[in-house]
């Protein structure tokens, strides 16, 4: 089987904090792969290194045969991503956000408009296509981001906690679409989630990361067997412990408040 993502001895240090510590794993082409871990375990940092946003301190990454550090543009063409944090332009309409994305990814005009129509209908936002994103609720923004990430039909799609804040209807709808895409186009799906039941149901293979290290990987059944538990949630807790992780408030939180004051 062709390995579309290969990660070897990947390490990322921020000053003296090691966010990702000597991580190695691989994802097969056409696989649905779940990357699980408690808050602050290093999931998002790993995804950022895979998607050219961060340079690794040490180690190598290959995406579809290309190195994100040396061939960022080639790598960027192979994947789509739905970020954990919002990444839409609030001052643009839903349609404009889609259009912007499609143009940046060289999707030809006619195909782009077809897909925008199809995807916006799919996430139930076609009627609101002319509304500014800042008028949208959290769930609507999330749906729009997912639609946008799928617009250029990438070979690999990264989804960083895509279903956070989505109702079960939208969640099922979204996974159904992704599975279709996975089956019909062989799209590799790489996702993180805190819903263990979701990972159990969707993922063909799972890796669990904690404190910057991969502590277990395999199919859901293998993980359960390894920990002698009956559900993935129990296996996860057995592997990562029951302590609640703290995450420091980021400057983004301060800034959000500030902008609200700033703009009327």
């Amino acid at each position: 089987m062709n390995q579309i993502i290969e990660v070897k001895n990947l390490t990322k240090k921020f000053d003296d904090f090691v966010a990702v510590n000597d991580v190695s794993f691989s994802v097969n082409e056409g696989e649905i792969f779940a990357f699980l871990g408690p808050n602050g375990a290093g999931k998002s940092t790993t995804i950022k290194m895979l998607t050219t946003l961060l340079h690794p301190t040490r180690g190598t990454v290959t995406l579809d045969g290309h190195d994100p550090v040396r061939q960022p543009d080639l790598v960027r063409r192979t994947f789509g991503i739905v970020f954990q944090d919002p990444s839409l332009d609030d001052e643009l309409t839903a349609w404009e956000n889609m259009e912007f994305h499609g143009v940046l990814y060289d999707v030809p005009d006619k195909l782009r408009w077809e897909r925008i129509l199809q995807l916006l209908k799919f996430v139930d936002l076609w009627d609101r296509r002319k509304s500014l994103v800042k008028e949208f609720s959290g769930g609507m923004k999330r749906r729009l981001e997912i639609a946008r990430g799928l617009l250029h039909h990438p070979k690999i799609i990264f989804l960083d906690e895509p279903t956070l804040g989505l109702d079960p209807q939208t969640r099922n709808h979204m996974w159904a679409y992704l599975k279709e895409l996975n089956k019909n186009e062989g799209t590799t799906v790489f996702f993180t989630t805190h819903y263990m039941e979701e990972a159990d149901r969707i993922a063909q293979r799972i890796a669990i990361i904690d404190h910057g290290k991969i502590i277990a990987s395999g199919t859901s059944a293998e993980l359960k067997q390894q920990t002698a538990t009956s559900s993935l949630e129990e296996a996860f807790l057995a592997l990562t412990g029951e302590t609640i992780r703290e995450e420091a408030a980021t400057s983004t939180d301060h800034l959000r408040t500030m902008r609200r004051v700033w703009r009327r």
């Binding site: 050219t52 990444s87 001052e91 404009e96 994305h101 940046l104 400057s251 301060h254």
Partner: protein, 248 residues
């Protein structure tokens, strides 16, 4: 090309949609024109320098351009904090092109803002010598706008959040404006001030505006063009250098 265009278009759309920002950023130039233009007008006239409103208007156009341009450049920090920068950074497009698209958009916005101030100044009593310099004036305005948008982008690439914004306003933008000859003639200045105004790129922009609007300049149009284009190229280069280094 199309990617640069859509980045440019985004800046324009954002500008046109933030009505409160447009109005807000016009209040300050208007205040300057009215309060200083009429407040100091008498003294200026008695000193034999002619109409202060006429002298001041090119300076205030320069002011609105530098404020808007640096601000749109700095907006990258917002894009970064609110995630949209990530969307641009993972797209298959060179960092240089992202920078070019954004900078052209920001510069266009700043130029429009300058033109609006020019229109307002006419209502307040500004009378240009002639209109024949208008096309060239727009060109110079765009050049000044480009220069300071690139500077704003450069600064924004080095900052992580808006905390440093006040610092930049007070220690960079304000001095650039006040030491540019926007408010006073550049002739017969004390030596120290003369040197400082010569180092301020905005001086050359406002000088060019004055030549083209009221036929009164200090450095000459050729010198202005040379200095402005050199500094602009320099800032664009530096801006894209720092922009490329952004990691999220």
């Amino acid at each position: 090309m199309k990617k640069i265009y859509i980045l440019w278009l985004r800046q324009i759309k954002r500008y046109l949609r933030s009505k409160s920002r447009i109005v807000g950023s016009l209040a300050q130039p208007l205040l300057f024109l009215l309060a200083l233009g009429y407040g100091l007008g008498g003294v200026f006239q008695q000193a034999g320098q002619g109409s202060y409103i006429n002298f001041l208007t090119p300076g205030i156009i320069g002011m609105s351009i530098i404020f808007t341009a640096i601000f749109t450049g700095i907006e990258i920090i917002w894009d970064r904090q609110f995630g949209f920068l990530k969307e641009m950074m993972v797209a298959p497009m060179s960092r240089l092109n992202i920078m070019i698209g954004r900078t052209l958009g920001g510069a266009t916005v700043a130029t429009i803002q300058g033109l609006i101030v020019l229109a307002i100044s006419l209502l307040v009593g500004f009378r240009p010598d002639h209109w024949s310099g208008l096309p060239l004036l727009v060109l110079f305005m765009f050049l000044v706008a480009l220069l300071f948008t690139a500077l704003g982008t450069m600064i924004a690439s080095l900052l992580n959040d808006m905390q440093g914004f006040q610092l930049i306003m007070n220690f960079l933008v304000m001095p650039l404006f006040f030491l540019s000859g926007a408010l006073f003639p550049l002739d017969n200045l004390p030596r120290a001030l003369a040197i400082v105004t010569r180092l301020d790129p905005l001086s050359y922009g406002i000088d060019a505006f004055r030549i083209l609007l009221i036929s009164a300049g200090h450095y000459g149009l050729g010198a202005d063009l040379l200095v402005l284009s050199t500094v602009t190229v320099g800032f664009l280069w530096l801006g894209s250098y720092f922009f490329k280094k952004i990691q999220i």
